[in-house]
């Protein structure tokens, strides 16, 4: 069972990132769940979601000790770094997080996601860069599943962006 937290500012695409992993897990016939945190604010503040991908039925969909945390901004780094399970993975957006992990018992992977996204030419795909890094680090789902998921999760008017997204994913995988 994999328990994942994805966190960042609203607008950074953390919910979609989580949904892509969930969808891919489903395509690979695993039991999956996705759960967004929700607050009263319509804008501002950070947001996150819990993803569980499991061989057996999913119990609680609320992840409190993630195996993997993908964090896209500093407040999320501060909040979720301590929660990552021993031996777990912390993937973070080093463009916005000028910090190192203080924990020795986890694997911390810094990915300059916004920089890479800017290089590709679209800052909005920083989340895809991190997803690429996640796949590379955990091997939880196959790239092909993610590719299929993109078609389902992105609304059809964004389908023309799929190649760009794939490019970002590949860059994230290749990074390190």
């Amino acid at each position: 069972m994999a328990e994942i937290i994805v966190a960042g500012f609203g607008g950074q695409g953390v919910l979609v990132l989580g949904q892509l992993i969930t969808y891919a897990g489903m395509l690979e016939d695993k039991a999956v769940s996705w759960f967004p945190s929700y607050g009263p604010e319509q804008r501002g503040g950070t947001c996150h979601c819990s993803v569980v991908v499991s061989e057996t039925e999913v119990g609680s969909p609320v992840v409190s000790r993630p195996d993997t945390a993908i964090v896209m901004n500093l407040p999320s780094f501060d909040r979720f770094e301590p929660d990552v399970a021993e031996g777990g993975v912390l993937i973070f957006n080093s463009t916005l997080i000028a910090q190192k992990s203080k924990r020795a018992d986890i694997e911390a992977i810094a990915v300059p996601a916004n920089e890479i996204a800017d290089e590709i030419g679209n800052p909005r795909v920083a989340n895809m860069v991190l997803l690429g890094a996640f796949i590379e680090a955990t091997g939880l789902v196959a790239m092909s599943s993610i590719q299929k998921s993109l078609k389902k999760v992105l609304s059809s008017r964004h389908h023309h962006l799929i190649p760009l997204n794939m490019q970002a994913l590949e860059r994230g995988r290749a990074y390190q």
Binding site: F9, G44, G45, N73, P75
Partner: protein
């Protein structure tokens, strides 16, 4: 010496840009810095132009701006 002065509580600013639109003298602009809430707060680009007319403060929803003026006049 400018007639007015705009004092900015940057941590409260939410980058909504409403103040910019109403300032008659282009005093304000969005800065490159980022505050704790992830917003780029407003800064005084041309402080010397400020007349202390308070229009920016009147429209600012977040009590970011305090205005001083040399010769107090009623709005």
């Amino acid at each position: 010496m400018p007639k007015g002065q705009v004092i900015i509580d940057s941590e409260r600013c939410k980058e909504c840009s409403l103040c910019l639109t109403v300032c008659p003298h282009d005093v304000l602009r969005i800065s490159k810095t980022i505050n704790a809430n992830g917003y780029h707060p407003v800064e005084a680009a041309l402080p010397e132009n400020c007349t202390g007319c308070t229009l920016c403060a009147v429209i600012c929803p977040d009590l970011v701006l305090t205005i001083k003026r040399l010769v107090p006049e009623r709005t």
